[in-house]
Amino acid sequence: MNASLGSGPDPTPPTARADAGVPVRQRLAELRGPTRPPHPLDARALAALAANPGCERRTLLDGAGVDKAALAAALGSPAPYGQSQFAFMRGNAFEARVKSDGGTELLRLLGVADPEAALTPDVSAAGPEGRTARTALALREATTAKAWTLLDHPMLALEVAGTPAYLEPDAVVVHPDGHWTVVEIKSFPMLDGSADPAKVGAAARQAAVYVLALERVAARVPGAEVGHHVLLVCPKDFSNLPTGSVVDVRKQLSVTRRQLARMRRVEELAAALPGGTSFDPSGSTEELLASVEAVGAAYAPECLAACELAFHCRGRAREAGAVEALGRSVRGELGGLSTVAEVLDAAHGRAGDPADPAVAALRRAAALRAEALAARGGG
């Protein structure tokens, strides 16, 4: 596990490191299934981690590079996601349009007076390591050149629990003053100057991951500084004309930073697992069930939109009668009571200490509800 995350620069591709990380990596490979390559973590997945920070199960599975979608299917509760090819095509078409003509339109959105003069170095190379190295070089050169530079699909690396995550922002722009700006291109519309806040939020979380990865490169380039405001480019109203808006991602940045730091626990989590634990989706369903159950989860309905394992975890939470299955806030209302049976027993006077304020409130609630319903029954 890379303990230097966020604390020190390391633009070297993580796979090139061969020191203390190895044993953990081996252990994680065993968990994932020895023949399986680690499931690549992209920025979207990393950003989604922030959706359920308390979940050890997700931390471990992501840290070990387990393909959660395949695992969910093997558990008999496949993930509900998928992307429509219409949405995919639209996204690609819009991005191509934004970047056409060497990105002049995009640069104009950033206020560049003479976008034709901007540099557009080629950052393509063989393999993700090569591209990462190429990107780091291009960033350094652009910063030294003190000229507007557009990097189209650069590649950045971030080491997460010993697994390299290769991240591909839509674009990064280097300003003549050494500022680097992350550009996110999304195909949801900016309608009358504002876009769907939920979608903007997701884009901001994703951009924050890129900023984080860029900062590690920038730390080694004199005069470079990564902007904490990113440029979000969307279609304007109902047209295909791009329009930009500057999004402050400082908050998302600190959440993601904290989140990634937590991934260090992967080592401990892996060590605590009983022998024979495996998340290899080719294993038997019973074995997989037991393995997954060996790591604690923190299911909440928000998981449904953020984690491939949601249907599985929801089923488990419901079986256990966990009140969180009804919503995270529910737990807070119920004091120390955590299962449906406990709460209902307390509410109906079958259990619980009446001196406990939570129990007393429940009993009053149950009595008032019963009274109102009886009044209806009696007309």
């Binding site: 509900p80 996601y81 998928g82 992307q83 429509s84 090819q85 219409f86 949405a87 995919f88 095509m89 639209r90 996204g91 195909s187 949801f188 519309p189 309608l191 009358d192 100057g193 279609p235 109203d237 109902f238 047209s239 295909n240 004309l241 309905p301 928000e302 449904l304 939109a305 249907f311 419901r318 009668g321 009140v323 299955a325 009804l326 919503g327 806030s329 529910v330 209302e333 119920l334 449906v340 049976a341 709460v343 209902l344 509410a347 409130a361 429940l362 009053r364 609630a365 149950a366 008032l368 509800r369 009274e371 109102a372 319903l373 009044a375 209806r376």
Partner: protein, 535 residues
């Protein structure tokens, strides 16, 4: 969520069936609602794909865009939609009753009463889900600035007639939703979840099929099981058994069924365009028709479950007796409809893209008032809602144990009788030095009293303050008697601020409403149009 509602959810979880959250219906339902189930194309800013629409549940009208990227086909869809929806909206416009409204005379600045028309009823629009409501708003926004050839002969891509008008109406309906308690445009999921608690989270309740399954499961199945099937069940081809209630389609449907069907349609269209002689053109036309029919059939199969579910939801909610105050709120909806009718008739421009600062502040303030009104009215209409207010100490039921006449010590003494009551509830009345006011229903209005002191645990004294007539002695029936059971609330029953007046936004300019446009006229210009525009 109040603790009482949480408890209802837990009971639903345990029993496997939804539990009541209301004993009366808190939203007015029209006898003749217009139901609209729209579908949109994934990834496009509201490019319509298809819809079922109509007032007859047995005979919906199916509208389809066989190639959503084709502007002409989208316009044809919207024109058909206008042709179905506008006559319905219009059919309520001329059945009016005389009404009075307070207005500010523009010359004198004085408040005067004006005779106006109020439509006796208003058209109601129902969509399946909250995202359907957003979509109505989006459609409205996309259409109202379009220009028809008649409005602007030079418009590069003129819209068919009526499209801008439909856009204005959908915008009005979409905006009206933001007023708490309004019922011009409702969605089935909100209607159901207002009246029932399921054993799942409110996030999961957004799925109409699952929500309905909890409330009305098929014979012999628990709500929980039926909901799970509605949510995740797929057939052998991987298609959802219960397709989403729109406007988004399931990606598996898009990729496996819809995309090939649209490709086939494109090909058939190309072949038809390239047909060389009459005979082959006939054959090609047949193929084109078949290809289009295939897209229609696919979309129809996606839409029908949501169509039926929406009507089923209406049945279920309609079975509850309407709360008396829901009818009062519907009158406000009638004002809102009438106001927009007047604006359209007065030839006013479409609603601006953005509210002026003043307009936005007014809307916000009026929505806060409406929220308070809604909460008070629902509690007064429904003992189950009142129970939640009693639990939080905002209301209490009581039995009168003593009444003592008393008067003000003024030149003309007016009655201020002291009423002692016993309650088992725990109202938040403070120590008696804060002059907490309480209210009870009386003769279709309310009477207020102030808290005087606690006499003993569960026994308190109140001083009645009003609604006892003008004489020295209270009018008969205005003072409670020993033994009366009374529910007092700590919140007022009526909200100040134009008890029966329409919102400022619904007041047409011709009647002193706010000017909708501030400064420059950029708001009114149509959207710039490029060849690959959507909608």
């Amino acid at each position: 969520m109040s603790l009482i509602n949480t408890l209802a959810r837990l009971e639903a979880t345990r029993s496997g069936h939804a539990q009541p959250l209301a004993t009366t219906r808190h939203r007015h339902l029209s006898d003749r609602p217009l139901v609209l189930v729209p579908l949109t194309t994934a990834g496009e800013a509201g490019a319509p794909l298809g819809a079922l629409v109509g007032t007859d549940r047995e005979a919906p009208r199916l509208l389809v865009v066989p190639q959503p990227r084709d502007r002409d086909l989208r316009f044809a869809f919207l024109a058909d939609l206008a042709e179905t929806v506008l006559p319905h909206l219009d059919s309520y416009a001329d059945d009016t009753e005389p009404a009075e409204r307070n207005e500010t005379d523009p010359e004198t600045g004085k408040r005067v009463k004006v005779e106006v028309e109020l439509c006796r009823d208003a058209p109601q629009l129902i969509v399946p889900s909250r995202s359907g409501i957003d979509y109505v708003r989006l459609l409205g926004r996309s259409m109202r600035f379009r220009r028809t050839a008649e409005q602007d002969p030079d418009a590069p891509y003129p819209a068919p007639p009526h499209i801008p008008l439909l856009g204005r109406w959908l915008t009005h309906y979409g905006e009206r939703v933001r007023t708490p308690g309004a019922a011009l445009l409702l969605c089935a999921t909100d209607l159901l979840s207002r009246h029932w608690a399921t054993g799942q989270s409110s996030l999961e309740d957004l799925h109409l099929g699952a929500l309905l399954a909890w409330i009305d499961p098929p014979e012999g199945e628990s709500g929980a099981e039926a909901a799970r099937r509605a949510e995740t069940g797929r057939d052998a081809r991987g298609q959802l058994l219960c397709p989403p209630a729109g406007p988004a389609t399931d990606p598996a449907f898009d990729n496996a069924l819809l995309a090939p069907a649209i490709d086939a349609y494109d090909l058939a269209r190309k072949n038809f365009a390239g047909a060389e002689d009459g005979g082959s053109a006939d054959a090609r036309l047949g193929e084109l028709a078949a290809a289009e029919r295939h897209v229609r059939d696919l979309l129809s199969a996606q839409l029908l479950p949501a169509w039926h579910a929406t009507w089923r939801a209406l049945d279920l909610v309609r079975a509850l007796p309407e709360g008396p105050r829901a009818a009062e709120r519907w009158t406000r909806d009638r004002w809102s409809y009438t106001g927009h009718r007047d604006r359209v008739r007065a030839g006013e421009p479409p609603q601006p893209r953005r509210d002026s600062a003043v307009g936005a502040a007014q809307k916000l303030a009026s929505r806060e008032t409406e929220q308070a009104r809604l909460e008070a009215q629902e509690a007064l209409d429904d003992p189950l809602v009142m129970a939640a207010r009693r639990l939080t100490g905002e209301a209490f039921t009581s039995e009168v144990t003593g009444v003592e006449p008393a008067w003000t010590e003024t030149k003309r003494p007016t009655p201020r009788p002291l009423v002692t009551v016993r309650t088992a509830d725990l109202p938040q009345l403070g120590g008696g030095d804060e002059q907490v006011k309480v209210y009870r229903s009386l003769d279709g209005g309310s009477q207020s009293a102030e808290f005087v002191r606690w006499e003993a645990a569960g026994v308190l004294t109140l001083r009645l303050l009003n609604a006892m007539g003008r004489a020295k002695d209270p009018a008969p029936g205005t003072v409670p008697e020993v033994g009366d059971r009374i529910c007092w609330t700590l919140f007022p029953h009526e909200q100040r601020g134009g008890a029966k007046l329409p919102d400022p936004e619904d007041t047409p300019w011709t009647h002193g409403g706010p000017p909708a446009v501030d400064g420059d006229d950029a708001h009114e210009r149509p959207d710039p149009i490029t060849p690959d525009d959507l909608l």
